[in-house]
Amino acid sequence: MRLRTLFKKAYMASIPVLGGYIVLGMGFGVVLQSNGYGLPWALAMSLFIYAGSLQFVGIGLLTGGVSILTAALTSLMVNARHLFYGISMIDKYKGAGAGKPYMIFALTDETYSIVCNPPVYMNKKEYLTYSLFVSLLNQFYWVSGCVLGSVLGNFIPFDTTGIDFALTALFITVFVQQWIDKKDHRPAIIGVVASVISLLIFGRDNFLIPAMLAITAALCLMGAKEGYHANE
């Protein structure tokens, strides 16, 4: 595939993220600004942290007078799920060359959901270029959204309540596509069951890490029993 074709494919795949990131980013910029942290902060946080949920939590950390240790532990809890994305991209991102450090840095929930599920067959080289384009486009949307929100403040002309459901919808479509693609549905079922049970036990603020541990344990057991045969 030519570079232009790959870029177009990346752009098409990233459109749902464009909508979600601009809106959520603007929401973040508005809230951040109303707490006394203006444009430079929105820019720095979206460029260097680049993690939606942590940035929102981070506004509370900035204004709440917490210790540096608390900030570090909170970041660890909120973003520990990124370990999972890394583990599942090790082989896929092998040989990515000069763009690889950036691609690893930019592996957000949304970027992950797009690159783990390419729209058409691509060879290794095409896939890596496509993934780099998706990564760059997505961060561009996010930074633009955060900056716009910070600059425009509360002058958003329409009611955007509920528009962040777009990202939930994106994850649901990827989930359904994976369900259709894979013969073995146990990993998906394990994911749902482990997450819901830990949500019920540990509550909405603390359930991610127990859920991750339970998922890892269940998948390891399953793999060990079956000799680690890939589930295509």
Partner: protein, 104 residues
């Protein structure tokens, strides 16, 4: 003084996030073959993780009143059904989000 502390907090959030994103790639780097278990996890994890992310997004649902959970359930159903029907990501997201925004 306050601003210095803020710079430090932003830096800490950035560094922890970067470390989390890089750890798996650093541990299993180089041209060594990825261990069987890790390669296996790489293959099965995406399905589990997407399920976890969906639950994570829907964690705010409360079942205290019908109107508190109905928009989430209805919009999610619209996304799933329209996606099975047309296999068009964008269409499903627009329909589901519109449905959600009308109901909340």
């Amino acid at each position: 003084m306050l601003m210095n502390r803020s710079v430090l907090i932003v830096a800490v959030m950035a560094i922890v996030t970067i470390i989390l994103r890089f750890i798996p790639f650093i541990i299993f780097s180089g041209n060594k073959k990825t261990p069987k278990l890790v390669a296996y996890l790489g293959d099965v994890l995406p399905s589990s993780v997407m399920a976890m992310l969906v639950v994570y997004c829907l964690k705010g649902i409360s079942f205290t009143s019908t109107m508190a959970f109905l928009p989430y359930i209805a919009a999610s159903a619209v996304v799933v059904l329209s996606y099975i029907w047309k296999r068009n990501t964008l269409l499903s997201i627009v329909l589901g989000t519109a449905c959600f925004m009308i109901m909340v």
